[in-house]
């Protein structure tokens, strides 16, 4: 665990550093998105368990809640949640592959010009993100189901 004590340079950026600290790569923004979507999903899951417990208060309480969720603001929130889940899951698959060492290429001698495993992985990253984008767009159609 890092203790982040202030140094003479005091280079701790705090929350701002989540978003920008100069020359962040595409993967760094995916990391930010993964973290935000993960936090959103767990917050939703906890509220969801409390909210679905309302069924114990009977038919009326439940149907009232479902009528509320059928309204437009909630439909949009549900869609955003779906999008966050798809993004988190697809990016999660990419992370799993990276962490387990797939598609990173063989280790090479560090001879200039250096090749990085991140760059070798990048075409796959683009493919996975394109698929996630497609799923998120297609998922929007459920907004129009009665």
């Amino acid at each position: 665990m890092n203790s982040n004590k202030p140094t003479a340079y005091n280079n701790r950026l705090g929350l701002k550093g989540w978003v920008y600290a100069g020359r962040y790569t595409f993967e760094r923004y995916l990391y930010l998105g993964h973290r935000l979507s993960g936090m959103g999903l767990i917050a939703y899951m906890v509220l969801h368990i409390i909210e679905t417990a309302n069924r114990m208060r009977g038919v009326e309480a439940w149907q009232g809640l479902m009528a509320l969720f059928a309204s437009w603001p909630f439909k949009i929130i549900e869609y955003l949640l779906f999008a966050a889940a798809v993004f988190h899951a697809m990016n999660g698959v990419r992370l799993l592959m990276t962490e387990l060492g797939f598609f990173l290429g063989k280790p090479k001698e560090p001879v200039y010009p250096y090749s990085s495993s991140v760059m070798r992985h990048r075409p796959l990253t683009y493919i996975i993100m394109a698929l996630a984008g497609l799923l998120i767009i297609l998922g929007g159609s459920s907004l129009f189901f009665p």
Binding site: I42, M45, I49, I50, A53, R55, M66, E99
Partner: protein
């Protein structure tokens, strides 16, 4: 070793979440396509109770509860423990998250059990 095990479990539960949450979204958002009923009907009280009476549902929901809560809360613990905490605060985060997780899991499991044992018509 303990940290390695906890992290491995964080990754090992992912297939369970992927399958069960995928099915959950299919049911809640795409009921007309996958189950041949309207979204409204899929979320109806009677339909929900009807579904909840199967043993498979009981087991699968409790599995999703456990897997999702573990994965998500372990992730939150990691995020919180990246903050500059004193050892005492880090311990508080660990115990706080663990007890919160157990409480929410117990609530969810109880509700699922309640649905499973619900008597239609009183």
């Amino acid at each position: 070793m303990r940290e390695t095990r906890l992290w491995s479990l964080h990754l090992l539960v992912i297939p369970i979440i992927a399958i069960l949450l995928g099915a959950h979204f299919a049911l809640m958002h795409y009921a007309p396509i996958f189950y041949g009923v309207s979204v409204e009907e899929a979320r109806n009280f009677e339909t929900m109770i009807e579904r909840g009476k199967s043993v498979a549902q009981l087991v699968l929901y409790i599995l999703l509860l456990a897997a999702g809560l573990y994965h998500g809360l372990y992730g939150m613990r990691g995020i919180l423990r990246e903050l500059p905490l004193t050892p005492a605060l880090a311990k508080l985060v660990d115990w706080g998250i663990l007890s919160f997780g157990i409480f929410i899991f117990a609530l969810g499991a109880y509700v699922t059990w309640w649905t499973f044992s619900f008597k239609i018509g009183g």
